[in-house]
Structure formats: C-alpha cells, structure tokens
Point group: C2
Chain length 441, copies 2
C-alpha cells in the first residue's frame, strides 16, 4: 500500500536544473515542487508520482531551471533615459545630460512609469530580484509589488537639492519613513542609498551608519567607480578609507562598481565583509575601467552582478551581463579558465542575494527557500548542439529564451506571456515619455 | 499628366533607414526599392507612389533597415563544437580539445551540417555575408549558396596533415581548384586561407602570395592573436615582419585578431593596406588580450568585425558582437566617446565588405549596390523609449529582433520565418551530432 501523495501547489518537470547551491552542479530530468511559495522538494522526475500531487504542472522538457537572477545594482526609473545620451564620458554624461534631465523630468509619475517599464524588462529577462537606488523609492516599491517581483530599494541621500529634497535632512527623513513603511513587506527590502562619497559629506554618512545599524537595514553606495574620484582628498584620504573611518564598511554595505582599488583596499574590503556589485557593461560604456573581479574573489570578497541603469548599459539584461562578466573577467585576469560559467551563474544569483542579506530566502534552488525560479528554453537553434546547459546559458543564450518566471511561487511569466503586467499599456506609457523627452537632450 | 511608375520587384517602407554610406546618417520614413537584385532607389516614403510600382511590399513601420551585417571572421562548421570545451586557455583549447575533436570528427558531412547550422544562425541574426576559413570549403560554399547567403570562403593551408590533406601541396591543390570552381558564382568569393604564421612555413606562404596575385583573390590569416605567438623567432623576426618579407601584407590580406601589435607594426599594417578582422568576444573568451581598435583606426587601418567560430564565442551573433566591440573599445581606449554606435555599425557592414574586396557590391544601402538588407524590429519593450535607433541597435537590441533579411534582393527571412531553410530538419541534424559528440570531450 503506497502512501497518499502530499499536496503541493505546482510541479515543474525540467530537462535540467542548476541549483547553484547544494551537492550537484547540474540535475538532469528532475522535478521541482512548489508549496506555499517555497521550494518543497527537488527530486528525480520519475519519483514525483506517489510523493507529490499539485493542481498545476509545467512540462519544461527543453528547459534549464535556474534560481531567479538577482540584479545587484540598477536605477530602474532610468529606463526612460535609455539611449538619451550615449557615447559620452561619465562626468559629461552625468553633469551635462543625466542630472539636467533628472532636474527637468523626474517626478513620482516619472519614477512610477520608468520603474514599471524596468520591472517588465527584468521579468522578461529572468530577473526575480533587483537592487535599486533612485528618487521616490515608494514609487519603485509599488511598481515592484504590483508586478510581484522582489526588490531591495535604497532611498537616496545626497548633499544637494533635487526634486525629492533640499539636502541630507530631507533625504534622511524620507529614507527612515520609507524603511518603516516597507520593512515588513514580503517582497521589499528597504535601505539607505547614499549616492557616493563625492556626493555625500561625512555628517550624513555617519548618521546613515548609526541609523542602518539601529534599523538593521542594508546600505548601497557607488564606490571607486572612476580613476578621478579615488584621488586622495585634502586630508590625503581615498573614499574607501573615508568610509572605513566613518564605520560604513561592513557586511551591511553593498558597494557598486569598485573598479579602482589598490591591494590594501582589496584587503580592507575583504576584512570588513563589504559586498561588491560588479557592473561590467556600465564600466565599459563609461570607460570607467576594468574591475579586477578574480582578485576580489580570491581575497574572499562576495562579488554580485548588476546592470546599472539603462542610461549607461543600455539594458537590464542579466543574461547578457553574465556573458560580458565571464568574457571580460578572463581577459582582465589573463586567464581563460577564470570565471567559468557555473561561477558566473552563482555571481548572478546567490552572491546577489547574499549582497542584499537575502541569501536565506533566495538565490539558489534548495528546499525551504522561496520559489524564485526562472526557466530558460534551450530548444532554439542558437543553443544547439548542447553539451553543458549552464555554459550555453552564459555564452550563447539571449534574454528572449527566458520562458517562465516565478517569484515566491507566483508565476509572473509563462511561455513569455506576462501574468501580472499589461505590456500594451506599458508600451503606450513609454511612447508618451518618448514624445515628451525627445525634444530635450 | 503623371508619368507611368517604373516597375520594380519589391518596395520596403521603413520607419528608419541607416544607409551607412552617403549623405545622411539616418533617414526617417523612407522607402527602399529593389529591382533585379539591386537597390534601385532610396526616397521619402511619400514620394514612392507614382514613381515606383512592385508586386511585393513590406510595411516595416517599427523597423530600422540596415545593410546586411558582414561577419568578417568565422569558422562556420565549428557550430557543431559550440560549448564542447569552454573556460580553457587558447593553447590547451586548441591542442587538447579542438584539434583532437577535429581529427576525430571532421568530414565533408560534418562541415556541410555545421555550416548549414551556422548559416541559419547567421541569417536569423541579420548576417548577409560571412568570411570563413575551414576544411572542405566546397561544402561551406554549397551550404551558403543553397541558403542564398553571401560568403567569402578561404580554403585552408597548413604544414601538417589533417583529414583534408597531408601537407601544403595537397592544401594548395585543393585551394586552387576550389577557387577556379567558385570564382564566378554571384554569392561566393573564394580565396586562400593559410591558418597562421605558426602553422604555415615560408615556402607555402610565398606560393600563396604568387597564386593570390595571379588569380586575383583575397587571403585570410590568423595574425598576432596571442602574446605567445608574436615572440621573435630564431631570426629575430615577429610574424608580421615575416609576412611582410614574404610580400603578403597588402589590401588583398585580411588579418584576423591583430591583438598584439607595437607602434611600428601598426604603421606597417596601415601602410600596406592590410585589413583587420576584430573579434572581441573570442579574444576575451580565450584571454588573448585587448585589440587597440581606436589606435588601428586612427592609423588609417580598415577594421572589420567578426565573431570567430562558435567554439570560442559561443555564438555567431553580430548584433551582440557590435555591442561588445563598442563597449570594450571605449574602455580599452579610456574614452567613452570612442567607437560611437554609428561607427560600430559601419565596422560591422561596410568595413567588412571592404575587407573582402566586396565594398562595390555590398555593405551599405546606396543605389546600385546589391540588395543585402536587414530589418530590425524596434517595437519590443527592451527598445523603448527610443531616441536614436542605431544606438538602440548597438546597445539594447538582441538578435531576436531581426525580422527580415534579403541577399541580392532575395528574401531569406520574413517575420522571422526562414524562406530558404528548413529549421526543423536543421535541429534534428544538430541533435544527431550532439549524440555522437557528447561521448567525446
């Protein structure tokens, strides 16, 4: 007499599963069982019957299942600035184009619409969690939660006035209120987002250190992105040393870019447990330099992967970013064996989750974690023949091969049909902004 | 009384056209008229009526028309080795994996099937002309002509035995016969393909120089790809100097890679009119180094763009390659304004045609040239909003947005439907080889 099968919500039968964490790098012909938003089981496909039953089944016979991708650094609303000012150096791009455009256009409505477009693009590209720093964080959080995607959202802090505030007091007021409002939402991780050492002075940085400890939330900052910004200041201090003096370097801090670091700074980053969000395409496009990813990893630093905003990339495509990170990492280290495909997938999933303090919840396909899952269809001609599906994902696939996306067990896309978003309406929104902004550049 | 409209074969009405050559960088709301395989006219869309009539019309209202992409360096049959040995250095990859696999598997059937798969992938990705060097060149030429794609095919020459021959005499015999057989085919440009200075000795190189002059055909060689191969030989000569001594540096020569060049070698390459096929993704993946593209261009060298074979890339995606070339070129030169999108598009089209001696026939959308044309659909969410369609093509699009492809005025793909190839049959062919090769690696 066989026991009654246990009840689940959904069973995914997949040709391959790359769990990223656990004993096996790759499982063939396995099933993943979703129950109450979590991964309830991972077992050979022929053992499902009799053990599990569920009202929903997906037969993913030519697909690779991976943990949902974690975009560790972006500015989602900037999707509306995609391609507005290309082929320019960082300072000119920021000071003569992005900041003036932001001053003129950024509003709650702009951020809501831009974030919605970005969230749709990210879901379509297999991202299930993104880390964002931008104005009007509530609008970003609402865009994320209405679509059902996970997000860590860092409320911005700057020294100077913007449409969102006059100075640090205003920004910190908004940030603490934003964190209080959203800290218990199952999809949102709120935090503080001091823009950069060059845009935030000591006093607000020290307050952020105290507040983030008290409130137990993460902090995101742009750090050591360009050669120019790391020159020692009047006190002979480089930005990383300054942040260390202010107590900000810690496992609570996610530092975006980290392109220009000397050996002592690599050690300091490792010793303090500071995380790094590597953004290779943005660093290339703005000619910021080459992040020494293998050196950072050998020092023991947790390196996550991010696209940066669509104004400096110009997409939020984490599959493309994995490819760029893998290819570039080999050339920068002079070692074609560096950053193999499986490590790159971990960088784009589990390391990202860890960088946001979310590695107990997401980032790998192991029993008990939230069901944040992506299916990539390997049936296309460009993926054939196929010897290693993870290498294929990193080196040959495009975002268009992402077929299904689940977050917390909820299906956000199936067979490329969006389940929570109206694509036609989003395209009209994009057209409206294009008409408004096209007169400006 | 209005004159009778002239008769054409096909009229394309496009939202945008990037002709690459001619007075305007970008035309909006224009029509392109195809007649007898050539571009007969390019005019504002509202002036077509009364001037031209044709049995076939395409309304490409959300599309950018570009010249067909020219893949200046690949090994099409190696599509069957895609992903067979990733994350390895060039020497180990070549000597322990690729060459043994070639010794075991390469045959006319292998080359035919691999080339067919590659040709399908290239058409689907907007490539209308490719430059190939591989065994059994007749098989490649047949795969190209049966699909209707243009190709420059370089018959390989090596010092050592392979399934195709015992040594230089055999290879040169095949090459001269191959060139004679195909030189008058409207789609095929045959030439000599000495593999590299390290694989071909002086005597056959000297004969290739004489023969290519006599037969008036191009030559393709792998050159200065890695730091190891450019070390001076027993005579104190580096490979470029050796080729110059043998008289091979000329506008007839297309040198693939050219990663490691000193200033004198840059000048020599420019002075001799030697063309360069830049293959950024392959150079990154094999950690070969960083080609100094802006330096080569400033010296006056014609730089084309290639994917290299699918075993070291791992795709034949020229849109992705354009993005990598643009992003990487900025970082390598330290100038975010370097290699802007319009220059990159020229590199991937007209410069490629020029590198193969085909720039009077293809590579730009001007009246009189062959109608080698690609339409890219900008309607997708990832391309919105849109301020500059060429920047969007280079920085945000994927190969999947290629919707239509024409070569010599013949439609090879429309609305992503292949017109000359059976995709299902090709996928079965790929599966068969995968089953055979998967036991080997």
């Amino acid at each position: 007499m066989s026991p009654t099968p246990a009840q689940a919500d959904c069973i995914l039968q997949a040709r391959w599963i790359a769990p990223v964490e656990g004993s096996a790098e790759l499982l063939a012909h396995h099933a993943l069982v979703i129950k109450e938003g979590r991964i309830a089981d991972l077992l050979p496909a022929d053992q499902v019957e009799g053990r599990w039953q569920a009202p929903e089944h997906h037969d993913l016979s030519s697909h690779l299942l991976i943990p949902g991708l974690v975009n560790a650094h972006t500015h989602s609303a900037m999707n509306l600035f995609r391609g507005l000012a290309d082929d320019l150096p960082l300072a000119e791009w920021l000071e003569e184009h992005v900041w003036p455009a932001e001053g003129k256009w950024v509003s709650e409505e702009f951020v809501t619409d831009g974030a919605r477009l970005a969230v749709a693009e990210m879901i379509r590209g297999g991202t299930t969690c993104f880390s964002d720093m931008y104005f009007y964080p509530d609008s970003i959080a609402r865009a994320a939660t209405e679509a059902g995607i996970r997000a860590a959202i860092f409320s911005p802090v700057l020294d100077f006035p913007t449409p969102m505030g006059q100075g640090p007091d205003d920004y910190l007021h908004v940030a603490t209120r934003f964190i209080d409002d959203w800290r218990n939402h199952p999809l949102i991780t709120p935090g503080f987002g001091p823009h950069s050492p060059y845009a935030v002075s000591d006093e607000p940085l020290a307050r952020i250190r105290t507040l983030s400890d008290e409130m137990d939330v993460p902090v995101m900052i742009h750090l050591h992105e360009t050669a120019g910004e790391v020159q020692p200041d009047a006190n002979g201090e480089r930005p990383l040393a300054r942040l260390h003096r202010l107590g900000l370097l810690s496992p609570r801090l996610l530092a975006a870019h980290m392109v220009h670091l000397d050996e002592e700074e690599v050690r300091l980053t490792a010793q303090t447990g500071t995380h790094v969000a590597h953004c290779p395409e943005s660093n290339l496009k703005l000619a910021s330099g080459f992040c020494r990813v293998t050196t950072l990893r050998e020092a023991g630093i947790n390196v996550a992967l991010g696209t940066d905003g669509a104004a400096s990339n110009n997409d939020l495509d984490m599959i493309g970013e994995m490819r760029t990170a893998a290819l570039l990492g080999k050339a920068v280290s002079g070692d074609a064996a560096a950053l193999p495909a499986h490590e790159i997938l971990a960088m784009a999933t589990l390391n990202g989750a860890r960088s946001l303090g979310l590695d107990q919840q997401t980032g790998s396909l192991v029993t008990g974690k939230n069901a944040d899952i992506v299916a990539v269809d390997m049936a296309e001609l460009e993926a054939r023949p196929l010897y290693d599906p993870v290498a294929q994902l990193v080196y040959s696939c495009t975002r268009n091969q992402v077929s299904h996306v689940w977050v917390n067990g909820r299906c956000l896309m199936a067979g490329r049909e969006m389940r929570t978003l109206n694509l036609e309406r989003l395209l009209r929104v994009a057209d409206n902004w294009q008409q408004q902004l096209a007169g400006f550049s």
